[in-house]
C-alpha cells in the first residue's frame, strides 16, 4: 500500500510520533546546551586556576631573583611540553622570550584576563607543519614575527592573563584551550548523533506503528463498508493479538451479531405477517365481498359483520402476540422485573383454567414442592404458563387413558423448573418437537385445533427474557413442557 505523506500525517500514530519527536528533541537540545555551557564554565575556571598558580610561581621567582630569574624560569618552563603559554614582551609588544611565536593583535594591550579566547601560534610549529606537510603554502613560513595569525587551521585558541611588570615589560601567562574545545566538539558531535538517531527512530516508529495502525483501521473500515453494503453476516477482522484494535473489533462484532439477530427477527416478523396474516385477511375480505354481492336479509348482514369483528379480534390478538414476541426477543427493558412467587403463578393459572379443563374432561393437578420465587415479570410468566396449560389441555384430550395435565414446580440443581405435562399423544418426532416453538409453526396434528401457532413461541420468548429456557420433552405418553428459570442470586 503506497502511502502519501499527507495520508500518513492524518494518522494519529504519525501525529503522536512527530509530536514526541519534537518535544524530545527540544529537551535533548536544551540539556546538551546546559551541559556544554556548564562544563565549559568549569573548564574555563580550571584553566584560570592553573594560570593563577603559574603566575604565583612566577611572581615568587621574580621576588627572589628579579627580572633575570623570571626570564630564566619562563624560558625553562617554555621548553617543557604542555598546554601552558608564557610570553614576555617589551613595552612595544615585541616578544622577548616565551613559547609563543605570534598572537592575535591587541591581546597584549589590555592588562588582566583576556575577555575572549584568542588565537596564537607556538614556536616550532611552522617547522613541524612543514615537515608534516611539505606542499603547504610557503606564505605561511614567511609570516613575520609579529604577523597576525588569525583563524588559520594551525592557530590555537587560548586564554591568558596579561600582566605588566614593574619595568613596563609585558608578561603573558596563558593556557591552550585545545582540550576544552575538543571536549565541546565531542559533546556537539554526540548531540548531532543523538538528534539524528532520534529523528531516525521517530521516523521508524512513525512508519511502522502509523502504517500498521493505518492498515488495521483501513481493514476495519473496508469491512464496515462491506457490511454497510448489506452483508450483515460480515465481521470485522480480529488478529488475535488482544490489543485495543481487537477489542474494538470484537465489540463491534458482537454489536453486529446483535443487529443481525434483531434484523433476522424483523425479517421473520415480516415473513410471518406476509404468510400468516394474509390468509385471515383474505378470508375477511372475501367474506365481506360475498356478503355484499349476495341478496341477504338484515340478520345475515349482522351475522356477517359479527363474524368480521370476531375475525378482526383474532387478527389483533395475533398481531399483538407477534409484536410482543419481537419485543421480548429484542430484549426490551428489564426494569419491569420483580420477585415473582411461582407457586402463586401456578395457583392463579390453574385456577383460571380449572373450569376449562373440567369442561373438556381433563384432570388438572398441581404439585408444588416449595414457594419458589424467581426474578421476573409476573404478567409474562402468567401468560407463558397459561399458554402452555392451554395447549396441554387441548392436546391431552386425544389421550387413550383419562386425559390429565399435571403442573409441577420443582427445583433441579440450580434451576427452578415449572413443568406442564399432559398424557396425550405428545410430539413423538424430535425434529417436530424442536420446531414446535417456532413462530406460526403448527404441527400437522394441531391444525384442527384453534390457535394462532404463537402460544409456544411467545412462551419461549418469555423464557428467553427471563434468562431461562423452554424445553419440550417427551413424557411417554404425552409431552412435558418445561420452563427452567435460573435460581435467584439472593436465595
Amino acid at each position: 500500500m503506497a502511502l502519501s505523506m499527507p495520508a500518513i500525517m492524518r494518522t494519529t500514530a504519525a501525529r503522536l510520533s512527530a509530536l514526541y519527536l519534537l518535544l524530545f528533541a527540544i529537551c535533548a537540545v536544551l540539556l546538551v546546551f546546559y551541559m556544554t555551557s556548564l562544563s565549559a564554565r568549569m573548564l574555563t575556571g580550571q584553566t584560570q586556576d592553573t594560570i593563577n598558580d603559574e603566575v604565583l610561581g612566577l611572581a615568587r621567582a621574580y621576588q627572589r631573583g628579579g627580572l633575570p630569574l623570571l626570564v630564566r624560569v619562563v624560558e625553562q618552563r617554555s621548553r617543557q611540553p604542555g598546554a601552558n603559554l608564557y610570553l614576555i614582551a617589551d613595552t612595544n609588544g615585541q616578544i622577548l622570550t616565551g613559547n609563543v611565536q605570534s598572537l592575535e593583535p591587541g591581546v597584549l594591550e589590555a592588562e588582566g584576563w583576556t575577555t575572549e579566547p584568542f588565537s596564537y601560534r607556538r614556536f616550532g610549529e611552522a617547522e613541524l607543519e612543514r615537515q608534516r606537510n611539505p606542499v603547504a603554502d610557503p606564505n605561511d613560513t614567511q609570516s613575520g614575527q609579529n604577523e597576525v595569525q588569525v583563524e588559520g587551521e594551525k592557530g590555537h585558541n587560548a586564554i591568558a592573563l596579561v600582566l605588566r611588570l614593574p619595568n613596563q615589560m609585558i608578561m603573558l601567562v596563558g593556557r591552550d584551550l585545545g582540550e576544552p574545545e575538543r571536549f565541546r566538539a565531542v559533546i556537539r558531535r554526540a548531540l548531532m548523533l543523538a538528534l539524528g538517531m532520534m529523528g531516525l527512530g521517530g521516523l521508524l516508529i512513525w512508519f511502522f506503528v502509523g502504517r500498521a495502525a493505518l492498515k488495521r483501521i483501513d481493514s476495519v473500515s473496508e469491512a464496515s463498508r462491506r457490511i454497510m453494503g448489506g452483508d450483515l453476516s460480515g465481521r470485522l477482522p480480529v488478529t488475535g493479538a488482544g490489543d485495543e484494535f481487537d477489542r474494538l473489533s470484537e465489540n463491534l462484532n458482537s454489536m453486529l451479531a446483535r443487529i443481525a439477530t434483531l434484523n433476522e427477527g424483523l425479517k421473520q416478523v415480516s415473513d410471518n405477517i406476509a404468510h400468516d396474516l394474509k390468509t385471515p385477511l383474505t378470508r375477511l375480505r372475501n367474506r365481506a365481498e360475498a356478503t355484499l354481492s349476495g341478496k341477504y336479509k338484515a340478520a345475515d348482514y349482522r351475522q356477517a359483520l359479527e363474524g368480521t369483528i370476531a375475525e378482526s379480534d383474532q387478527l389483533i390478538k395475533t398481531f399483538n402476540a407477534i409484536l410482543m414476541i419481537s419485543r421480548l426477543e429484542a430484549g426490551y427493558s428489564s426494569e419491569s422485573t420483580s420477585r415473582v412467587d411461582l407457586a402463586a403463578s401456578v395457583r392463579d393459572v390453574v385456577e383460571l383454567y380449572e373450569p376449562v379443563a373440567e369442561e373438556a374432561g381433563v384432570t388438572l393437578e398441581t404439585s408444588v414442592q416449595d414457594a419458589f420465587a424467581v426474578e421476573g415479570n409476573r404478567e409474562l410468566i402468567g401468560q407463558a404458563l397459561s399458554n402452555i396449560v392451554d395447549n396441554a389441555i387441548k392436546y391431552s384430550t386425544d389421550s387413550t387413558a383419562k386425559p390429565s395435565v399435571r403442573v409441577a414446580l420443582d427445583r433441579v440443581g440450580r434451576e427452578i423448573r415449572l413443568s406442564v405435562t399432559d398424557n396425550g399423544h405428545g410430539i413423538p418426532d424430535d425434529a417436530d418437537r424442536a420446531r414446535a416453538t417456532e413462530r406460526f409453526v403448527r404441527l400437522e396434528k394441531s391444525r384442527s385445533q384453534p390457535g394462532s401457532g404463537l402460544g409456544l413461541s411467545l412462551a419461549k420468548a418469555i423464557m428467553t427474557f427471563h434468562n431461562g429456557r423452554l424445553d419440550l420433552l417427551p413424557a411417554d405418553p404425552g409431552l412435558s413442557v418445561v420452563m427452567s428459570f435460573p435460581e435467584r442470586e439472593d436465595r
Binding site: 426490551y332 392463579d348 383460571l352
Partner: protein, 241 residues
Amino acid sequence: MHMPATQSSSEIAYNGPMKILVIEDDREAADYLQKAFTEAGHTAHVAGDGETGFALADSGDYDVMVVDRMLPRRDGLSVIAGLRSRGNTTPVLILSALGEVDDRVTGLRAGGDDYLTKPYAFSELLARVEVLNRRASAREAETVYRVGDLELDRLSHSVRRAAREITLQPREFRLLEYLMRHAGQVVTRTMLLENVWDYHFDPQTNVIDVHVSRLRGKIEKGFDKPILHTVRGAGYMLKSG
C-alpha cells in the same frame, strides 16, 4: 348499548351520556372515535395535540378523557401529570401503541386510570370508558350491591338471590362483585381478567367465558329471569329485567 339513566343509584350505575375529551393527534382515529362515541350516545370533543388537550381538559368539565401517549407539543403522560397536579381528577384512559408491561405501569403511575394498547376494538374502549365514568365510581364505597333480586354483601361475603343463599367460590365471588359494581355496563373479558385475576394478557381460549357461564349457572339456575347477559362482540352485562 346506551342505557337510560335510572334514579335508583344502588340498582344501576349511572350510564347516561358522557362528555368525553379525546386527545389524539391521528386525525382519522380521532374522527372515528368522535363518531363512534356520538353513536353510543355520548358527546366527544377532540384535541389534536397535548397543549390544546391540556387547555381543554383544564377548562372543560369532562366525565372521561381518552389520551394518546405520543402527542405533538406535549406528551400525553405530561398532560395527565399536569392535570393531576392542578387537582383535576377526571378519569383518564391512556391509549398507546407501545403496549409493554412497563408502559402500562408508567402510564398508570403518571395518573392514568386505565390503559389500552393499539390496535384495540372500539367495543373494548367504549366499555372501559363507560366503566371509568367518575359518576359510577361512587359504588366503590357501598358495602351491599343489589341488582334486581340479586344481592351481594361485600362484608359478609354472602350472595343471595330472592332471599335464597348462593354459595360461590372466592374467585366467583370477586367476579360477581366486579360485574355488580358495574351493573348495567358492558364488561369485557379482558376487563374481567384484569380486575378479577390481575392479569393483562389475552388468554388463548376464552377461559373467562367458562368462568362466567359457571357463575351464571349458580346465579340463574332455578330462577326464571336471566340476569347475567352476554353482549355479542363485546362482553357481559349484569342487569335485571
